[in-house]
């Protein structure tokens, strides 16, 4: 998980003096604290390594017997004879649904965060922030039920409209009958689910913008929007990226909501409005109960791939944030 901190550590110079002070034998509290935090850090690494080892060990057993190509086959039948399973559909579905979710959620979240932090009257801003925070406390199965019972029937009309007027884009072309239990609906649902976390972190970052920056911009005659564009957004950029990555992490791994809403099938199709596709987490939830031991190992192998995708995404995010250090809070 990408950390949501908006402050990068202080520059090395300051750090050294701080450490020199901390190492003085008289300050027992500091030593205990340093030990505790180091211990927590190591524990975290050990847990991560243990997960990786467990997944790899179980996955190897299943992959060794797999008759299909694990990465390119679009079929899932580990109980078959011979066993054939591949993650092509799952990887495609996971990434596509997350992209849709991000495309919807990030702009909306930035908008809400800006509204709460810069536009809304004080009396409105606080309750609005609470409401957005509360959205994060709703369990995902509740989102799933809401999605399946309420959202799916209502999106039917939107799907028909998109098919009629945007059908030429291919991705909005609806080839057959069927209610809106598709990747597009899943993307919208995921967007709603990741909205609170992105909004929350982004809002905190926007509130950290040095008052001087904004006042300076206003003094130069900038309008409120220009102030936001010149001082708030550049300052908050790395924070927005971290927040988005936190949201993306949730979207990639969301299980129950997707399992309840999606009508899965092992077909790779760019047609977002047709029922079909699948995601890693959804597939594990759907197949785990009735799978035999071998099938479970196959599911664990697919989980390992999700683990790697998440690691890659977070690594990329850290790299982007690292490159943009000049905008982060440390230099403000």
């Amino acid at each position: 998980m990408a950390t949501a901190t908006t402050h990068t550590p202080p520059p090395p110079g300051r750090n050294d003096t701080a450490r020199a002070k901390a190492s003085a034998p008289s300050q027992a509290g500091d030593r205990i604290f340093s030990g505790l935090s180091r211990g927590s850090g190591i524990t975290l690494l050990v847990i991560m390594a243990a997960i990786a080892v467990f997944l790899t060990y179980r996955a190897i057993l299943a992959i060794a017997d797999n008759e299909g190509n694990f990465l390119t086959t679009s079929e899932w039948n580990p109980a078959g004879d011979p066993p054939v399973f591949g993650i092509a559909v799952l990887a495609f579905g996971t990434i596509v649904s997350s992209i849709i979710a991000m495309a919807i959620a990030v702009p909306v979240a930035i908008g809400i965060a800006l509204f709460i932090s810069h536009y809304a009257p004080r009396r409105l801003a606080a309750p609005l922030a609470y409401v957005v925070d509360l959205l994060a406390a709703v369990p995902s199965i509740i989102y799933g039920l809401w999605g399946a019972i309420f959202l799916v029937p209502y999106l039917d009309g939107l799907n028909k409209w998109l098919d009629q007027y945007m059908g030429w884009t291919y991705i909005f072309d609806k080839s057959g009958e069927g209610v809106a239990r598709n990747m597009f609906t899943v993307g919208i649902l995921l967007a709603i689910m990741i909205l609170p976390i992105i909004t929350n972190v982004t809002r905190e970052v926007f509130l950290q913008v040095p008052r001087m920056h904004e006042e300076a911009a206003l003094a130069l005659g900038a309008t409120r929007w220009e102030t936001i564009r010149m001082s708030v957004l550049p300052f908050g950029r790395s924070g927005i990226i971290s927040a988005s990555m936190l949201g993306l992490g949730r979207a990639l791994g969301e299980t129950m909501a997707v399992a309840v809403v999606l009508s899965p099938s092992f077909i790779i199709s760019g047609r977002l409005l047709d029922p079909g596709g699948g995601t890693f987490a959804q597939n594990i939830a759907a197949k785990f109960n009735e799978a035999n031991e071998y099938g479970r190992d196959a599911l664990i192998a697919s989980g390992l791939v999700l683990f790697f995708i998440t690691l890659l995404v977070n690594g990329a995010a850290r790299w982007i944030i690292g490159r943009r250090k000049e905008y982060s809070g440390a230099n403000a």
Partner: protein, 376 residues
């Protein structure tokens, strides 16, 4: 950020957590659609023979028989003081895995043990092996929603073609031929199946491939839906909800889901004089046509999906209890025998039909009653 604002936020978040947590807990508790267990059942509980039953009996497996288990466990525990039966409905596959790891005294499963699973069970059953005891049957209803049509008759080939996306309109000649006089609309058929793996799917697949081999060429053994088309929903409850909401929909689920949500069910033209309705009684008649394929004490059934017997509804699901014939754990053996004795007894079978299940036909029930006392 000011401190009091943060604590306010925490309090709100905590409140939300408590409320949503409570919602989740109640959601977990309320999936018991067999709750109206009447007074007559508590009265019959007095007939339960407890023998030497004591302590805790762990079991796990099929979700299909969960409601039946809940009833049985409740009655059994009410009659026998100090006994606790704990059945975890985690799915057949999971139940067999736990059984073969020695974690549970018996497993519930929608399909009989496979050869390699029997071989594995010999490690746990010292000197014996795992055997299948049929215990609960049930009809798999084909539910549909089609405005203006309330008495729909289909047969196996038409069902196979519908679920295989070969028939796509409700006014297809094949359907019209089976329903003379019905006003079939020009609506697209939306066939729903399970998105999760399920013994219900497997049993429907077995039925289609035996009763309509020319039209259903998919692997009958798979627990995940084998055909490419159609739409899916999660769990029997998900399929039932989707069918109820969508005009032109058709799907399959255990009968209790159809009765609970008031969904019309298809009558099957099996070749008998009258089309057969999905009822527990009709399912029992079809189970009576089954042959025992297991050897020795193993009572694995081979169901006759092609039965033409009058009033026999052939899309059925039989769940087994799987236990060791020899080599059960000494400390749970008396409880295991007492509990299975009760479930297969006349009272035990009688309560089933109230929960949407079909009691075992007399012949099979008698065989199970003979075998349970011999478990050792």
């Amino acid at each position: 950020m000011k401190l009091h604002r943060k604590t306010g936020l925490r309090a709100t978040a905590l409140g939300a957590l408590v409320v949503s947590g409570a919602l989740v807990l109640t959601a977990c508790g309320s999936d018991d659609n067999a709750s109206p267990a009447g007074e007559k059942k508590t009265a019959s509980a007095s007939n339960v023979k407890c023998d030497d039953a004591k302590g805790q009996l762990l079991a796990a497996g099929s979700t299909a028989q969960k409601n039946a288990m809940d009833l049985w466990v409740k009655n059994f525990q009410a009659a026998c003081a100090g006994v606790e039966v704990n059945y975890q409905a985690i799915g057949s596959g999971g139940g067999i895995t736990k059984f073969n790891q020695g974690q549970v005294a018996f497993a519930g499963s929608d399909s009989a043990l496979k050869e390699e699973e029997v071989a594995e069970s010999q490690k746990i059953c010292k000197g014996g092996k795992g055997i299948n005891l049929p215990m609960v049957g049930g009809p798999v209803a084909i539910g549909y929603k089609l405005d203006g049509v309330d008495d729909l008759v289909l047969d196996a080939p038409t069902l196979a073609k519908i679920f295989d996306s070969k028939i796509t309109k409700w006014n297809d000649p094949a359907i019209a031929k089976l329903n003379p006089g019905a006003k079939l609309p020009d609506t697209a058929i939306q066939a729903f199946h399970r998105s999760d793996e399920s013994g219900t799917t497997q049993n429907l697949g077995k039925y289609l491939s035996e009763a309509a081999p020319a039209d259903w060429k998919h692997d009958p053994k798979t627990k995940s839906w084998p055909a490419p088309g159609g739409q899916a929903a999660n769990g029997s409850s998900g399929v039932a909800a989707a069918v109820k909401d969508t005009n032109g929909a058709i799907g399959y689920f255990e009968l209790s889901y159809a009765t609970a949500s008031n969904i019309s069910t298809v009558k099957l033209n099996t070749g008998a004089a009258q089309p057969v309705e999905a009822t527990t009684e009709n399912a029992s008649k079809a189970i009576a046509a089954a042959k025992i394929k297991g050897t020795g004490n193993d009572l694995a059934l081979s169901l006759d999906y092609k039965t033409k017997a009058e009033g026999a509804y052939p899309i059925i699901l039989v769940t087994y209890e799987i236990a060791c014939d020899k080599g059960n754990k000494a400390e749970t053996l008396p409880t295991l025998k007492a509990f299975l004795n009760y479930t297969v007894s006349e009272e035990g079978q009688k309560v089933l039909s109230d929960a949407g299940y079909a009691p075992l036909p007399a012949e099979i029930a008698t065989k199970v009653r003979e075998i349970v006392p011999t478990l050792s």
